[in-house]
């Protein structure tokens, strides 16, 4: 975990550079970083508009397009699928956070630290397995349904949050802990007031990754009866209707992009001031 230090120290160095020369020209990467928060929603809105016009041009609801109409009906198909999709992604992401962050904290403390490599290896295998295979394994173990999907997704997406929590915590300069402990902070106080706040940017980045993974993976939920927008995509394939396929795929993409943008916002606003 020697790379652990890089992201945070790089950020600090970056910050310090800023304060010294406030008029320095922003580099390409910084410019991109600055505008991506604005460009992304513009792009998302554009894509949404395209989808909207495309959807309306399909003549959903008319007799002529009976197959397309029934596959793409908003009230009975798309809307419930979207809700299922988001529910699965939300639950799995929430559970990933609830499991991985405390686990990451635990695995960077004294004794348990020794088993950290083993735990990381297990978490790694969760992601290394083909997603499809993972779903099947959990199907066999837990049966059909949304609950099975959520559990499988938690296993699948735990690694980025776990690893980033550990990397973020390990990246906190030892001297800060020495100072904190030296002033009489308890271990819990140094964790809550120093380590976690300083690790937040890295942890949030991991959560953002996990969330986007989960939104993508929820597309496979229909395979084991979990519903979601995967149903529309698969009907498009089965019916050989490109329109249905496209609407399903673009909707998933829109959801993923939108939530990725929320993640970017969270990263920006949860970034501790002063760093």
């Amino acid at each position: 975990m020697s790379e652990a230090v890089t992201p945070l120290t790089a950020r600090w160095r970056h910050g310090r550079k800023h304060s010294v020369s406030t008029v320095a020209m922003p580099t390409g990467a910084q410019l991109w970083h600055r505008y991506s928060l604005v460009l992304a929603p513009a792009f998302i809105a554009g894509l949404g508009l395209v989808l909207w016009y495309y959807y309306n041009s399909l003549g959903v609801g008319t007799i002529a397009q009976i197959q397309v109409s029934s596959a793409l009906d908003w009230e009975t198909k798309l809307k419930p699928q979207l809700i299922q999709h988001l529910t699965i992604a939300a639950w799995s992401t929430l559970l990933v956070i609830l499991v991985a962050v405390p686990l990451g904290v635990l695995l960077t403390r004294g004794g348990p630290r020794r088993i950290a490599p083993a735990v990381l290896a297990v978490a790694n295998s969760g992601q290394a397995l083909p997603a499809y295979g993972l779903l099947i394994i959990f199907l066999a173990a837990m049966g059909q349904g949304g609950r099975t999907v959520v559990v499988a997704l938690v296993v699948y997406a735990i690694l980025p949050v776990l690893r980033n929590t550990m990397v973020g915590l390990d990246g906190v300069d030892r001297s800060m802990l020495e100072a904190g402990r030296g002033m009489g902070m308890t271990r819990m106080q140094t964790l809550l007031r120093i380590e976690l706040p300083l690790a937040v940017p890295v942890i949030v980045a991991g959560i953002r990754t996990a969330m986007v993974l989960n939104i993508g993976m929820a597309t496979l939920a229909f395979l084991i009866g979990g519903g979601g927008l995967g149903i529309t995509i698969s009907s498009g394939l089965k019916l050989n209707q490109d329109a249905v396929l496209l609407v399903g795929a673009i909707t998933v993409a829109l959801v993923a992009l939108t939530f990725d943008w929320f993640g970017a916002l969270a990263e920006r606003f949860l970034h501790p001031r002063g760093l």
Binding site: D173, M176, E178, A179, G180, M183, G184, P272, G274, L275
Partner: protein, 341 residues
């Protein structure tokens, strides 16, 4: 020595896990109230370890530690540390907190009310020479190294601890800033009268800052613990001699002032022979007098009063006499110690 020591280390040893020998072996040391004791020694000799034993950042393997006469070897270390200021070399300001929040760390843990904390923060920032209106709401990255160092000291003074542990607090700063920080800190100490254990590996800093200096060898073995004057006048062994290095005698001259000498009379005929003569005032140190003699390539220098009138003459023999007196005093002191034990 009168009264009981503020800090007493009684045969304290520390063996780090997996280490072959002890990092600190059987260290016994008394630190008096209100004094600055400087721990100085080569790198790796155990100075930081000794400091961290005092506030129980690390637990002693054996031995006892007393503060104000109370055995604190087994008290709750977190509670203990809130009573002891601790300044580390890397400063360790919390980058995500403002200067005010940093300085308020200990008072906040002690649950002082908001008003009191705020007043205290301003007071402390003033104390270390930072204008609260300017610096309160800044973040550590917006400070220079010297300013950060000051904030580190202010933070350690948070709840007005009577003991300060300072681990190379002025280590990573340029010489000029360091010098001014040292001076300000000494001025501050005049007011505060804290009991300070100060670690450095720079003998000149030790001489400047210390009321007493403990010269440590491997495993924190105390080779000599005494006033800077005595250590310079009378190094007890080769280790101390080589550690304080060249120019020992000259450094010793910095402790005496020209005004305390029995000056030779100023004689217009003998001293006013037209050659450029160096002049100094009575509050100059003997070291400065020597420098003046060397500068003017003259064996003497004239002492003048405030209005610039000659008041007397310092001669080279004054300096050698002063050194000899200091050496005799120190030797007598150690002879008495030797006889007593």
């Amino acid at each position: 020595m009168a009264g009981e020591p503020k800090i007493r280390l009684d045969h304290v040893s520390k063996i780090y896990q997996g280490a072959e020998g002890p990092a600190v072996a059987e260290l016994t040391l008394d630190i008096d109230p209100g004094e600055i004791l400087v721990l100085v020694g080569p790198s790796g000799c155990g100075k930081s370890t000794t400091l961290r034993l005092i506030n129980r950042m690390i637990e002693p393997t054996s031995g006892r530690i007393y503060l104000d006469g109370d055995d604190v070897t087994d008290v709750n270390p977190d509670q203990l540390r809130r009573r002891i200021g601790y300044v580390i070399q890397q400063i360790g300001l919390f980058p995500h907190q403002t200067i005010a929040e940093n300085v308020a760390t200990v008072p906040k843990m002690l649950r002082w009310d908001r008003k009191r904390i705020s007043t205290r923060v301003d007071e402390l920032l003033e104390l270390v020479g930072l204008d609260p209106r300017v610096y309160r709401d800044r973040y550590p990255k917006e400070l220079s190294g010297g300013q950060a160092q000051r904030v580190g000291v202010a933070r350690a003074l948070g709840a007005d601890p009577s003991i300060m542990l300072m681990d190379e607090p002025f280590g990573a700063i340029d010489p000029i800033t360091r010098e001014s920080l040292q001076n300000e800190f000494l001025r501050l100490q005049e007011e505060l009268r804290k009991t300070i254990v100060f670690v450095t590996h720079d003998i000149d800093e030790a001489i400047k800052m210390g009321d007493r200096i403990a010269i440590l060898g491997e495993q924190s073995v105390v080779h000599q613990a005494d006033t800077p004057e005595r250590i310079l006048a009378y190094p007890v062994d080769d280790f101390v001699r080589s550690f304080i290095g060249a120019g020992t005698a000259m450094k010793g001259l910095a402790f005496e002032r020209v005004g305390d000498l029995d000056l030779a009379p100023f004689d217009e005929g003998r001293n006013g022979d037209g050659k450029p003569v160096g002049t100094i005032t009575a509050d100059a140190t003997l070291f400065e007098a020597l420098e003046e003699m060397l500068r003017t390539a003259d064996g003497k220098t004239v002492v003048v009063d405030e209005s610039g009138r000659p008041a007397g003459v310092v001669e080279l023999s004054h300096l050698s006499d002063a050194l000899r007196t200091a050496q005799d005093e120190a030797r007598r002191h150690y002879d008495e110690l030797g006889a007593a034990s």
